[in-house]
Amino acid sequence: MNRSQMTTSISRRGALKGFAATTALAGLPLRAFAQEATIRWWSPQGAPAQVDAYKIQIANFEAANPGVKVVFETTSDEGYAPQLAAAFSSGEVPDIVTHLPSFAVQSYYAAGLVAPFNDVIEMIGPDDFYEGANDVFKAADGNYVGTGIGNSAANMLWLRTDLMEAAGVGKAPETWDELRAACQAMQKDGIYGAPLPYGANSMTTLIFAGVIHQAGGQVFDTDLNVALDSQETRDALEFYGSMRELCPPGATNYSWGEAITAFVSGATATGIYTGRVLGNVAEQNPSIADHVTCVKYPTKSADIPAWTFNDFPSVFIPAQSQNIDIAKKFAASLFNPDGYIQQLHAAPGHVLPVLKSINENPAYQANEIIQKYPAEVDLMSSAAAGGYNLGYESSEHPSNDKAGEVVGSGLIAEMVQRVILNGENVDQVIGETAKGIEAIMKG
């Protein structure tokens, strides 16, 4: 076909169609770039002050990224697992998730549900993180599954110094025997000794895993074999059972909310929680604000080191997100000093900074509560930095990507309830629990 023939074979209608098609194709990328993106952000940390801080971070990010909208949605500590399971299976996932424990992120990453986070850590500045802060987020393939948005020391022993003085308790308990004796001395006039959780929930599981370590035991050995069937677990159950009479009757149904409320309201002489206690006391019960302090939770004997439960509140990005690049940018922006400090100040002492530059920042230190309780905040910071959780039981343990399912199964909480509330045979219950956990590890 020569040129003249080709020219004559194109009709006017054909040319118009071609023009229209070319115009449409040319318009596609423009429309794609101009398309507004909405980022869905999930977090179980949804206290009003925290949400206010998030709103400021969102507004800053939206202003710097026109066309991008960020929507914050609250989940809960007890409810995030089913919500995310439903989200992952339906494909309707949030674009960014924060404040979930590190072991949950490892579980999701192992199932291929989480995007690698290495480049976000690069954007934030890896040298600014405390040494080893991201070890807990390192997966078996060498990638980082997320990073910490903060640290938390979740099983600090909170004490009322005025009640200790009145009961003749001279010093903060360091061993279980001392703790029990102190609680017995302070349990009077309608005030209970402690608000330990005995409910069928994740708090009981996570706190009791810590009690096993405080007895010198462990749930998994360093090869991630189930190591629950031990004398240390029996000792932990015996101690936990002996504390039952020192807790309010409703502790059989306690989770995080009830546990903190019991201490902050003055119903119990001791507490077990993160530094959120400080903010809540200042806001809800200032009359005890001058009589509140914390120490690491006691162990079975003085020669056993304390074991602080740090859930390593995380930030990660689901692999199914349709806006991964923008979500990564937003994740990095959460660590910008102004917004990050505001976020930390929303619950001072509760979520502790993971960046050295933030901890040293005068704006962070200028907070009223951080200034009022410097010893407590320092102690929580150091305890959290050396803390562990069920997915990372010690520095010798590899990351356990089944820990999220072990917690979700409720087997450890069920063990506590069966032995302490139902009075079932300890050996049989521990054996059955160990088998149940083994099945999860194999599954």
Partner: protein
């Protein structure tokens, strides 16, 4: 003689009929048949919930669940809950309907207010009851301790049998207004002559209730019992929010077990197997209900 050939008009009417019911059939298939077949299909696999990846296991899920004690204890709890709460709903519902049928002051207001528990969301109702039951600040413990009835607060939701009794009572409180509405409507249509005849025959209030009112309520009560039995059997939110199935698994009914398998243990296949078994159990109630309504219709 061979069947007569349809006329064009008859064929068109048949087509029109098919077209008219087609949307209903399609919706039925989409919301009933598809999920049903899907659940049965899923129950034959071992599936990890977040990824929905799985492998074929045939009937293994069914043999495993029937062999575990957890299924049978949950079924037992489910039956105790259903029978317990339903009985109380009927007793309170009929009693309240009889009161509201009388010429009492503010009858209209009382009839409106009685529906309140049924209308408020379960989450709100549970929050209110959890505060009432609270060991440290709950009004129930406060009043009982104030009256000297108890020395220490009662643990309503964390020990047995308190937890199951509390759940049953809250369930009865939440759903008895449904019985009130249905029974009250029937009471208003009982002919007054029956009561007059009973009075002339010397029947007192109790005899009139058992010989006139109750037989007249029989039909409506049968339908209420069947409907509420189906609804109570699959109740999830109220029990989950009040106790989470605890202590241990003492208040764990089958719907809670389905949820636990699907979203805590991430075993969607096993959860589907539990759901299919639940459906078969509820089918008994449904068959009874359908037969009942059919016989009433005829």
């Amino acid at each position: 003689m061979a069947q007569q050939k349809q006329t064009l008009l008859e064929r068109r009417y048949s087509m029109l009929g098919l077209m008219l019911i087609a949307p209903t059939v399609l919706v039925f298939c989409a919301v009933i048949v598809y999920p049903l077949i899907s659940a049965i299909y899923l129950s034959l696999f071992q599936i990890y919930t977040p990824t929905l990846a799985g492998n074929w296991v045939g009937l293994d899920n069914y043999t495993e669940l029937l062999a575990t004690g957890e299924f049978w204890t949950s079924l037992r709890t489910n039956l105790i809950w259903t029978v317990g709460t339903l009985t109380l709903q009927i007793v309170f519902g009929v009693g309240m309907a009889l009161v509201l049928h009388q010429n009492i002051w503010f009858r209209s207001l009382a009839r409106s207010l009685i529906l309140f528990p049924y209308f408020i969301s379960t989450v709100v109702a549970v929050l209110v009851w959890k505060w009432l039951f609270n060991d440290l600040y709950g009004i129930l413990n406060h009043l009982m301790m104030g009256a000297g009835l108890i020395d220490f607060p009662i643990d309503y939701l964390g020990t047995m049998p308190n937890a199951l009794i509390s759940v049953i009572l809250v369930g009865a409180w939440k759903y008895f207004p449904f019985v009130v509405i249905a029974v009250l409507a029937r009471l208003q249509s009982i002919p007054e002559q029956l009561y007059e005849a009973a009075r002339i025959d010397g029947a007192g209030p109790i005899a009139r209730f058992f010989d006139v009112t109750l037989p007249q309520l029989r039909e409506v009560l049968v339908v209420i019992v069947m409907l509420r039995a189906i609804w109570d059997f699959k109740e999830f939110d109220l029990i989950f929010l009040l106790t989470g199935g605890g202590p241990v698994t003492s208040t764990q009914t089958l719907p809670l077990l389905v949820y636990k398998e699907a979203f805590a243990l991430n075993q969607m296949g096993m959860a589907s197997a539990y759901a299919v078994i639940m459906m078969l159990l509820m089918l008994v109630f449904m068959i009874l209900y359908i037969r009942r309504t059919k016989s009433e219709g005829s």
